[in-house]
Amino acid sequence: MISNYLKLAWRMLGRNKFFTFISLFGISFTLGILMVILSFLQSELGTNRPLTHKNDFVVVNMLTLKTEFFDTIVGVDTSFIDSKMVLDSTLEIKSSGSMQWNSEMNNGIAEEYLSDLPSAEKMTVFIEHSEYDVYINGVKLKLHSLHGDVNYWDLIDHQILDGRVFDKAEFDQAAKVVVISDKTALNYFGKTTGVVGNEMLLDGLNYKVIGMYKHFGKIVPYVSPDVVLPYTCAQLDNQDSFYHGFFCTLFKKKSGVSSEKLKEEIKYAASTIPMDHPSKPEGYEQLEFNPATYDEVFAQAIYYEREASKSLWIAKWILISLMSFFIVLPTLNLINLNVSRILDRSSEIGVRKAFGAHKGNIVAQFVFENVLQTLLGGLIGLGLAVFLIKLINKSGFIRNAILELSPNFFLYSFLVTLLFGILSGLLPAIKMSKLQIVNALKENKL
């Protein structure tokens, strides 16, 4: 039966070439764009290198000093007791607002109060938002740096192409060493081989290049710096206070432990930090961490809610709505085209039903044909997507993002194409399967 459907589907494509062209153009364009979006999401949010452990991450990128203001509200009630008026007053204390100071934390806080949480397998602290301006042959090159500790290399799964990463001794001694990306090697040295052992001038200081990692090009945080140095090399003496500083903290939770448990432990740790340090800014009485999973941090960039899980929920629905909207409109269009195409074949439906086809057979046949057409469109769309992805990667159109063509990308693209094919074929097929045989045969378009 499948071979019969296949033959017919193939010949139907050739029957009305203009219709086929219009359909395939719409399908391939829609699917091509969807595939580019999928590739972006997969590249940025998949558990591919260097975010292999992404699903185990909990991030604390902010320390909040807070104080709440309270007002006393006095209420006076009158009541009658033994026919005498009695006055009764009530006092109510209500929060009338709060004052917050959010900033990255001091590394001392992280190391003393967050480094030994029961649910955390490992923790890394690092400074992310610093840049070096370097000049190559008079041309300014902006290098995005990350100052980290040795654990950074265990948590962020960089692919080391040459050399090595810095070790604990180098970290402790604040050795002037740097690990650079292959992109930086190319921009700075003009080559990607033989750069290990060379010196690099950053902020007037010479750093020895000891390793080179692959630049994966992601816009998500912490994973695509141009250079990574030990944070002990950074100027730390001008951090704001005992509390606030320059650092983010990234945890990898132990396997079998939930992210929520680790979050709870982090929140509890906040309550153990003394609030009587002389450097504490005036007027703040409470200290809070707002830990979030890696996906929640990304979601907060799309739609910020202080409660990170709410951000993720909203961001997910924004993405799902956009994707659905992008699928639904062309699907409706394709349904419309399909109805007119299938109407042309009502006599065939009549004949098939007369010779024993039931509704299910008719639906299966037309959905099969539509899926085949959509897969063909998907194949063209894939070509378009690959072209667009290469163009985006080459042009640097989305900041430094490099969109990937991973096996998952092809799997998801296939699934989206299949879904598109089934959705756009099912409705017309069901509608046509309900045709009365006599009426269908009267169409006599065979």
């Binding site: 039966m1 071979s3 019969n4 033959k7 017919l8 010949r11 139907m12 029957r15 006599s347 065939e348 009549g350 004949v351 098939r352 039903k353 007369a354 010779f355 024993g356 086809a357 039931h358 509704k359 299910g360 057979n361 009365q436 045989i437 006599v438 045969l441 006599n444 065979l446």
Partner: protein, 221 residues
């Protein structure tokens, strides 16, 4: 084989009610070759469609092969049509995008018949109508007579007990019409297939066992 009891068919719109068939009683025994005649619009095709379970009567009951048919849209009815009935239409109704062999295979697609057996059975059916050498042709490459012979092959490929033919010679010249009629007669005499044929042609009707005449939806002879 086919028993119609007081079959009526009424088409209703908001303003008009048209009676296509009016209390038709008809019994067609197994192995009979019956023809139905009457002027255009008298209800011949409607009656044939009701016998073939392609249309529902407004009133009355129908027994085919001893089975009472009630729900026309059901899967069982589709199966019944597939196994017991074969159809031949005036305008052939071949699927233009399928080869002759694939067209003939069509009824077998809806049975559990392997691809190899389907091809064998379709080839045999085509051979019996003299078109073994046209298997890979497409309907557009055939003459009217050849198309109708393909349609007959399609109708008989599943060995149905009953063949319902709606003006099978209506679109053919007399030579081709006679060829088609000869095939139908042979099917009836050699295989014992029950055939009900709607026709306008008196000479074709005379070749059948019995003639039923309709006029304005009623049986007049």
């Amino acid at each position: 084989m086919i028993k119609l009891n007081k079959i009526s068919k009424v088409y209703r719109t908001k303003t008009i009610e048209t009676t296509a068939l009016n209390e038709i009683d008809l019994h067609i025994p197994k192995g009979e070759f019956l023809s139905i005649m009457g002027p255009s619009g008298c209800g011949k095709s409607t009656l044939l469609n009701i016998m073939g379970l392609l249309d529902e009567p407004s009133d009355g009951s129908i027994l085919v092969s001893g089975q009472s048919i009630k729900n026309y849209a059901s899967r069982e009815t589709s199966k019944f049509r597939n196994q017991k009935l074969g159809f031949i239409f005036q305008s052939f109704h071949l699927i233009p995008d399928l080869s002759v062999l694939d067209n003939v295979e069509l009824p077998l697609l809806y049975r559990n018949v392997s691809s190899k057996d389907r091809k064998q059975m379709a080839s045999a059916a085509l051979e019996s109508v003299g078109l073994a050498n046209r298997k890979s042709h497409f309907p557009s490459q055939l003459s009217g007579g050849q198309k109708q012979r393909v349609a007959i092959a399609r109708a008989i490929v599943g060995n149905p007990e009953i063949i319902l033919a709606d003006e099978p010679t209506g679109n053919l010249d007399s030579v081709m019409g006679n060829e088609v009629m000869d095939i139908l007669t042979k099917l009836n005499t050699q295989n014992g297939t029950t055939i009900v044929m709607v026709t306008h042609d008196e000479s074709m009707a005379k070749k059948t066992h019995r003639l039923v005449r309709l006029y304005d939806g009623s049986q007049v002879a």
